[in-house]
């Protein structure tokens, strides 16, 4: 089973601690099992015989034992918590570090939200289970078998009762589990559904109100609410039955013990003190069965979590470093696509087909085309976020597959389409790629990115706080900070993926002008929707449906490439083509 294998490998380093805690718990349970025996002795040898000295003496002994049991169990809990929580922390680190090696495709297979759940919530389930297992799973069997042994010792004839009580308890709890577990699962699904409706009402509030559909949403919610309530009611009613039923089994067992035991005592084949002890043992045995069942209830959830965690750990990244990496001799920003095609795995239709072009060293190149023409995919092949299905992508003269990934990435400065900032300050974000950049260097980058004014106006300037994702600055500001971040890194090649879209035309133009002088000899690749952004590039590549339909300068393409012509007309009007 995945859970056991996972726990096996992660708990192994703590084998000694586990051995210690097992020893402590065994000792504790043994002590607890011995106590009723002493109580029986008090009754048999003390009370019945009227021996006060014996009562007192045994009482002292019981008190000492109680103290020792207490210390043992605290020790057991201490090590169980330590090992379980440490193991949980280890699994979290393992998952997180492993995901760091994932390629974009691996990330997409799982999705960010799912990876978060796997990294924290699922591990939480596993560590809670481990904690329970380390304590109860150790205690329950010892208590159960020890209890049976002691019960046999106290009154062998009475023990036949166990043959009835224990299976009845087991069967009952098993039945409840079989009934309740699927209901639980369906309840969880319904809770998720209800929350989804609510979430939609928050995110879609403008649309709902604009279309005057609040009533409809209300009905949708009401349906989900009633559905959930129905299931929850049925689960809770089943649970309402569980405790009373267990109490009946426990209590009727005691009644039976007194009845059958009483006859044995009256026949003189069992001392009366043993009866009291037996009563305690049967309670302990049944309690241990309950404990085992409780761990068993947690088991399916933990097992599911373990499986989900293991899926992450068992995924080997699709894109890895080559065995013998080659380092480019020059870093001039030359990019060559040789007969490159790309299709998503499992997809019949390639996104990119037979791309064949060279982006000259130290030049500014642009890629333009409609939505779905494959611009971003093309750009993602350069840092090897995705890997060309066929053909070669060469950066600085060496196939990206032959380069060390970190080396390749170090030579690239990337500004992605989705402007994303990390929580921290403006400065920590700008220093993301080069921690030792000076404040002057940061300001210089901001100057080029046309971000100086608003950063200066922010409270704290460079030290102004940035929320996760950069949600506390506007879209245009975010894009400019992302550009500055890439500039601070000082790359040989900059890849700008449609990152000027939220800028107004004036800022866009100023930024591009500053970029030209600001980045020195570095090469630039710009992906854009707006013609005005790219029309002064050294070379423009026009994509349509995954194919290159035009390569050249603006002037050349306006005349020679119908697709480009069409784009220009739609954005700038017929005048601009003359």
């Amino acid at each position: 089973m995945v859970l056991l294998r996972l726990l096996g490998s992660f708990v192994r380093p703590y084998a000694r601690q586990v051995a210690l805690l097992v020893a402590l718990l065994v000792a504790q349970t043994a002590g607890n099992l011995y106590l009723p025996n002493l109580n029986g002795d008090i009754i048999n040898n003390g009370v019945v015989a009227g021996n006060l000295h014996y009562i007192l003496h045994t009482g002292e002994w019981m008190l000492v034992l109680t103290l020792v049991i207490g210390l043992f169990s605290v020790g057991g809990i201490y090590w169980a918590s330590r090992v379980a929580m440490r193991t949980g922390a280890d699994i979290r680190t393992a998952v997180f570090s492993h995901v760091q090696k994932f390629s974009t495709r691996d990330m997409n297979v799982f999705g960010t939200a799912s990876l978060i759940t796997r990294n924290t919530n699922d591990v939480q389930q596993i560590q809670i289970f481990l904690q329970m297992a380390l304590t109860m799973m150790v205690v329950a069997p010892i208590m159960c078998f020890g209890g049976i042994a002691m019960a046999l010792h106290e009154g062998a004839q009475l023990s036949t009762l166990l043959l009835v009580a224990v299976p009845v308890m087991g069967v009952f709890l098993g039945t409840v589990m079989v009934k309740v577990v699927p209901k639980f699962r369906s309840m969880q699904v319904k809770i998720d559904r209800l929350n989804e409706v609510l979430r939609e009402q928050i995110t879609g509030v403008r649309v709902i109100r604009a279309f005057v559909r609040s009533d409809f949403e209300g009905q949708r919610f009401n349906g989900a609410n009633q559905d959930l309530t129905g299931t929850a009611l049925s689960v809770n009613r089943t649970f309402a039955m569980m405790l009373p039923m267990m109490m009946i089994i426990l209590n009727l067992s005691s009644v039976a013990v007194v009845w059958f035991g009483g006859r044995l005592v009256s026949e003189g084949s069992m001392p009366i003190g043993n009866l009291t002890a037996f009563l305690t043992y049967i309670m302990q045995i049944l309690l241990s069965v309950m404990m085992a069942v409780m761990v068993a209830i947690l088991l399916p959830r933990a097992a599911a979590s373990a499986e989900r965690v293991n899926q992450v750990l068992a995924t080997s990244p699709v894109i890895t470093d080559p065995a013998t990496p080659r380092r480019p001799e020059v870093f001039n920003g030359e990019i060559i696509f040789e007969e490159v095609s790309f299709a998503y795995p499992g997809s019949e239709r390639p996104i990119l087909e037979s791309l064949d072009f060279t982006l000259a060293p130290y030049s500014t190149s642009a890629i333009i085309g409609g939505t779905g023409s494959g611009k971003t995919t093309l750009l993602n092949l350069i840092p090897r976020f995705f890997e060309a299905t066929t053909g070669h992508v060469r950066v600085n003269g060496v196939d990206v597959r032959e380069q060390n990934l970190e080396g390749l990435w170090a030579s690239l400065g990337i500004v992605p389409q989705a402007a994303y900032l990390f929580s921290g300050t403006v400065a920590t974000n700008l220093r993301f790629g080069r921690e030792d950049a000076t404040d002057d260097e940061l300001w210089a980058a901001l100057e080029i990115a046309q971000a100086t004014d608003f950063v200066r106006a922010m409270p704290g300037g460079l030290d102004a706080p940035i929320d996760q994702g950069g949600t506390n600055v506007s879209g245009g500001q975010r894009q400019r900070l992302c550009i500055a971040r890439a500039l601070v890194k000082r790359a040989d090649t900059y890849l700008f993926d449609d990152c000027f879209s939220a800028l107004d035309a004036t800022t866009d133009a100023r930024l591009r002008a500053a970029l030209k002088t600001g980045i020195g000899a570095a090469a630039v690749v710009i992906v854009a929707q707006r013609v005005s952004t790219i029309m002064d590039a050294d070379q423009i590549i026009v994509l349509d449906g995954g194919r290159v339909v035009g390569v050249g300068t603006h002037q050349q393409l306006v005349r020679g490439c119908p697709t480009y012509h069409e784009i220009v007309v739609s954005q700038l009007g017929e005048d601009a083509t003359r």
Binding site: G50, Q131, T229, F422, G469, S474, A513
Partner: protein, 642 residues
């Protein structure tokens, strides 16, 4: 069984300390008021159940007495009386035994009265059965009661949501609102579902057990009267400390979650910027904090049980020893002692439960407070119009919309829209341009009455907004908004969103007009394709097309296109523009876009800056006047000149 699970679950969600626990509790109790009859019923059933269950050990003890009496009686010579036997024992120097016998009911020479014992045990079994039955009925009643309360609570939250003004959603982080209406409600639900019922049973059980103990032997009960508060105090003391670490644990989990989310979202950036190692280091720092907190929380909450066991064992020993003495001196029966031992075992369980329920309750109250805060938020002013006027159909001689001296500000101190006036003739296309923050979106917010104007008038087809309900106003506008929101459901239902009674043919027709039909048909399920929550199975452009189709189908007399085409590729955009031109025909439209090409053919272009109209006119007029619009327009061609 909740005994062991309690402490752990108790910490879940207990992230916030409540500010006004007493007030919140009172309000929570007020929510129980409509169920008070059922609650009284449940309480009565609970009392009955505890009463029966608690008398069980006492009855069993009687059986033990019969047994013990029988054994002792059998040893005594036949034909003597109890007092004779005792006197005989004293005479022979067995004072100890004599005292014990004096406390018993003996019939010397006669053995165990099996019939009597059978009767007693029969009663015990019956008492246990009835007790459990009442317990079940109590649980059953409570289940219905709590579910109704929770159902109402959820319904109220949803109703509240539809009554909140947009201002609320715009000024509160969505994540926080969401957390209140989902996580907090869930947590509160768990508290009410599990906490309430168990708390009642636990308290009743303790009271019942104490009562029985006092009744059987006040002296032995004294032992328990000392140990019960001790157990409570110890439990509460530990629970309070572990609670603190649970809070830390959930806070660290939140931090760690945030870090993981952030790192994974920016995965490629982390890789390309060479930050993987630094990020793992950061992760480890937070992970260690989380480990430390969860270890302490688990350890502390874990020792509640051994501590209880320890106290219970001391109690057990004390009762065994003291009881032994008392029986030996004839002041107490053996059955009483065995019953006592069972009672002492019984009270540790409810105490541990109360401790875990206290934890749960604390966390539940913190959640309740957040939910109540949400329920207390200011609602949208109800439509003040007592009898709304009928909305007149658009007429050529009456302006479709006119704004007269409109003033509006989001924050009282920050002026935004100041003395804004605009006449929109029926059928005209108005384009609104301007830099970010100029107030373009605000104009839309005011037009569809997402926000109410502070002063001035907005008049629709000659009728003042103040004489119309919000819904009347909104039904006049067809909108394609910046956010391409889809609800989880089929594409067909999403297109139909603005007009639920539209036929399938009409849906397809609208989709065709929006140029969405062809891509929808390429999807495996076509119009029946189910969109997931973020409609992540569609591209941004496709979503945009669907929102346009939705507006087509809604077919309202005034259109608002808020930067609608910014996500659609340029070629599709051309097609959409053609379709839009068709749709705009005979309709009044407001178009808001960055791209000047989309609005060049508008009847009137309004250039906004800082909440005011700075220029107004047709494209040609504005170009001639060489003002703001002129420079905006030319900046699009800035690249050409260099």
């Amino acid at each position: 069984m909740s005994m062991a699970m309690g402490p752990m679950r108790g910490g879940v969600g207990a992230t916030a300390k409540s500010k006004d626990a007493r007030g919140t509790t009172r309000r929570l109790l007020a929510r129980l008021a409509p169920e008070r009859l059922k609650l009284v019923l449940a309480l009565t059933l609970g009392v009955a159940s505890v009463g029966f269950t608690v008398s069980g050990p006492q009855i069993l003890g009687n059986a033990t007495n019969v047994l013990f009496n029988g054994i002792v009686s059998k040893k005594l010579p036949v034909g003597t009386t109890q007092s004779q036997a005792i006197a005989h024992l004293r005479a022979t120097g067995q004072n100890q035994l004599a005292s014990m016998l004096s406390g018993m009911h003996l019939t010397p020479g006669v053995g165990v009265d099996i019939t009597r014992m059978g009767e007693i045990l029969g009663i015990a079994a019956l008492v246990y059965l009835v007790g459990s039955l009442f317990n079940y009925l109590q649980g059953f009643t409570m289940a219905g009661l709590t579910q109704r309360i929770v159902f109402t609570m959820r319904r109220d939250v949803e109703t509240k949501m539809s009554r909140l003004p947009l201002r609320y959603f715009d000024s509160h982080p969505h994540g926080d609102v969401l957390s209140r209406v989902t996580n907090d409600i869930d947590n509160l639900t768990t508290t009410i579902q599990q906490g309430l019922s168990q708390l009642i049973t636990s308290v009743l059980t303790i009271v019942g057990v104490m009562g029985m103990m006092l009744w059987i032997s006040p002296l032995l009960a004294l032992v328990s009267i000392v140990t019960i508060p001790l157990a409570l105090v110890v439990t509460m003391w530990i629970a309070k400390r572990s609670q603190r670490h649970f809070t830390d644990q959930w806070r660290s989990t939140g931090t760690l979650n945030g870090l993981v989310e952030e790192t994974h979202t920016g995965h490629e950036l982390v890789q390309v910027f060479g930050r993987s190692e630094a990020t793992v280091d950061e992760f480890n720092t937070h992970n260690t904090t989380l480990y430390a907190a969860s270890f302490k929380a688990q350890f502390l909450s874990g020792i509640i049980q051994p501590s209880m066991q320890f106290i219970s064992n001391i109690n057990y020993v004390a009762i065994a020893v003291l009881g032994g003495f008392r029986v030996a001196s004839g002041l107490l029966t053996l059955g009483a002692v065995t019953a006592f031992i069972q009672y002492s075992r019984q009270f540790t369980m409810p105490i541990t439960q109360i401790a875990s329920q206290m934890n749960m309750l604390q966390s539940g109250i913190a959640s309740a407070e957040r939910v109540f805060e949400f329920l207390d938020a200011d609602e949208e002013d109800p439509d003040i119009v007592a009898e709304p006027l009928a909305l007149t159909p658009p007429r050529d001689d009456v302006p479709s919309v006119s704004l007269r001296h409109v003033n509006f500000r989001y924050e009282a101190e920050e002026p935004l829209i100041e003395d804004f006036s605009l006449e929109v003739p029926t059928g005209a296309t108005i384009a609104i341009v301007g830099p970010t923050g100029a107030g373009k979106t605000t104009v839309v917010n005011l037009l569809v009455r997402f926000y109410e104007i502070d002063s001035g008038h907005i008049v629709l087809n000659g009728v003042d907004y103040r004489d119309l309900t919000r819904d009347q106003v909104r039904r006049t506008y067809g909108m394609v908004l910046q956010d391409t929101w889809m609800f989880s459901g089929s594409i067909r239902d999403n297109i139909r969103y603005g007009r639920p009674d539209a036929s399938d043919e009409e849906v397809v027709a609208a989709a065709s007009e929006a140029r969405a039909d062809s891509f929808v048909r390429t999807l495996p399920e076509g119009y029946d394709t189910i969109l997931d929550e973020d409609a992540s199975n569609l591209s941004a452009g496709q979503k945009q097309l669907l929102t346009i189709a939705r507006a087509f189908l809604a077919d309202q007399s005034i259109l608002i296109l808020d930067e609608a085409t910014s996500n659609v590729d340029t070629r599709t955009e051309v097609l959409i523009q053609e379709a839009m031109a068709g749709l705009r025909h005979g309709r009044t439209s407001f178009v808001i876009a960055h791209r000047l090409s989309t609005i060049r053919d508008a009847d009137t272009i309004i250039v906004m800056d800082k909440g005011r109209i700075v220029e107004q006119g047709s494209h040609d007029n504005l170009m001639q006047s060489q003002g703001v619009y002129f420079s905006l327009y030319n900046s699009q061609f800035a690249g050409v000149s260099t």
